[in-house]
């Protein structure tokens, strides 16, 4: 099971919510070789979705160019303080992780 994400979400006076997500992932490109010369298989997050009250507020397709332990920050409108925002990633091995944060 993958390690949890760290999610912070804050809504400002104009009603824009800023979400900051730190994900725990190796993000192996598939271009590197190990000490014995064998290619290390690619292993990276492919899909990221963020939802607020069942509504998708962000949907992204990622590739091997994204850094290890990625940091993602985005903004959306329409959330209130105390609402929940959910973030899910799925990697190319089919591993999945969903975490939730309360908007402050």
């Amino acid at each position: 099971m993958a390690d949890p994400m760290r999610i912070r979400a804050n809504v400002d006076a104009s009603g824009v919510t800023e979400v900051k997500v730190l994900m725990n992932h190796e993000m192996e490109t598939g271009q590197r070789k190990d000490a014995s010369g064998k290619t290390i298989p690619a292993w990276f997050i492919q899909n990221v979705t963020a939802t607020h009250g069942g509504r998708t507020v962000l949907s992204a397709q990622w590739g091997p160019a994204v850094s290890k332990n990625p940091f993602l920050s985005f903004k959306f409108k329409g959330a209130q303080k105390g609402d929940k925002v959910q973030v899910t990633w799925v990697d190319n091995r089919g591993d999945k992780r969903t975490d939730e944060a309360t908007i402050a």
Partner: protein, 270 residues
């Protein structure tokens, strides 16, 4: 390959174009900007979270957590503890830095053997995560904003400090290097990296309060034991044994010299 690394490369390349003297100054500023940009969203937080969990979860043969571990300010007190380490611990009759103390607690409280408690001192990817790294991240983050105040009262603390000072100036190895070879002059650098002058308070404070750090180029959180271990490698010295007296002595010397500065780590470095 990695976006963060690429960004650093672009900044470094931008610095080279200008005149040499100005270039060094500009590059330093640009690297500062790069660090600032990364500070928000420092992956060290992931280690902190895992460390907090390891600290609080019962583990080992005795199935107890580390919450009774005395880091110098009393059993279970984590807040501000790192700013006063290394220090003398009467129960072990030894001066200990944080990592030595954690090994001690995991052995005496949780019942782990020394081998189990030290088997992965430094992390190496997802398959070889280090509990030590995570615990250090958690404990050090609890000292963020606290002023360094390393004691130097007990005879053994003085002894360790003196030994560390001696080691700092000791030249040896195939290159006839000492720590002081690179770290005893102002305004020097290796490539674009500033070398802090560790013989002056300002340099020691800047350097010591910035570790542990998440190393972007390695994708790992690196502890102070790792930092010293890597300094020894760069000097082509024999490997510095994890939690050895030699490593504690050098840590004592550098930590004490950083007294008075605000602790800032875990930070993020290129």
């Amino acid at each position: 390959m990695r976006t963060r690394a690429l960004y650093a490369g672009l900044l470094a390349a931008a610095g080279i174009v200008a005149a040499p003297q100005a270039a060094a100054q500009d590059a330093v500023k640009e690297i500062e900007k790069y660090r600032e940009a990364l500070q928000d969203g420092n992956p060290a937080e992931l280690w902190e979270a895992r460390g907090e969990d390891l600290w609080k979860r019962p583990a080992g043969p005795r199935k107890v957590s580390l919450e009774k571990c005395d880091l110098g300010l009393g059993p279970g007190v984590v807040k501000g503890a790192y700013a006063q380490l290394p220090r003398y611990f009467a129960d072990a009759d030894r001066v200990m830095d944080l990592e030595t103390r954690l090994v001690h607690c995991r052995m005496t409280l949780q019942g782990l053997t020394r081998e189990e408690a030290t088997k992965q001192p430094f992390g190496a990817g997802t398959d070889r995560k280090s509990d030590n790294d995570a615990l250090v991240a958690y404990v050090t983050a609890e000292s963020k904003g606290v002023k360094m105040n390393v004691p130097l009262a007990h005879p053994k603390e003085k002894e360790m400090y003196a030994l560390g000072e001696k080691m700092f100036y000791f030249r040896g190895g195939p290159y006839d290097f000492s720590c002081a070879t690179c770290h005893a002059a102002d305004n020097t650098r290796i490539r674009l990296q500033d070398l802090p002058n560790l013989t002056k308070p300002a340099g020691a404070q800047l350097a010591y309060t910035g570790w542990p750090a998440y190393r972007v180029s390695q994708g790992e959180l690196r502890t102070f034991q790792w930092r010293l271990n890597d300094c020894f490698r760069q000097q082509r010295f024999p490997e510095l044994a994890f939690t050895s007296d030699a490593s504690i002595a050098l840590t004592s010397f550098l930590a004490r010299n950083a007294n008075g500065a605000e602790f800032k780590a875990p930070t993020i470095k290129r």
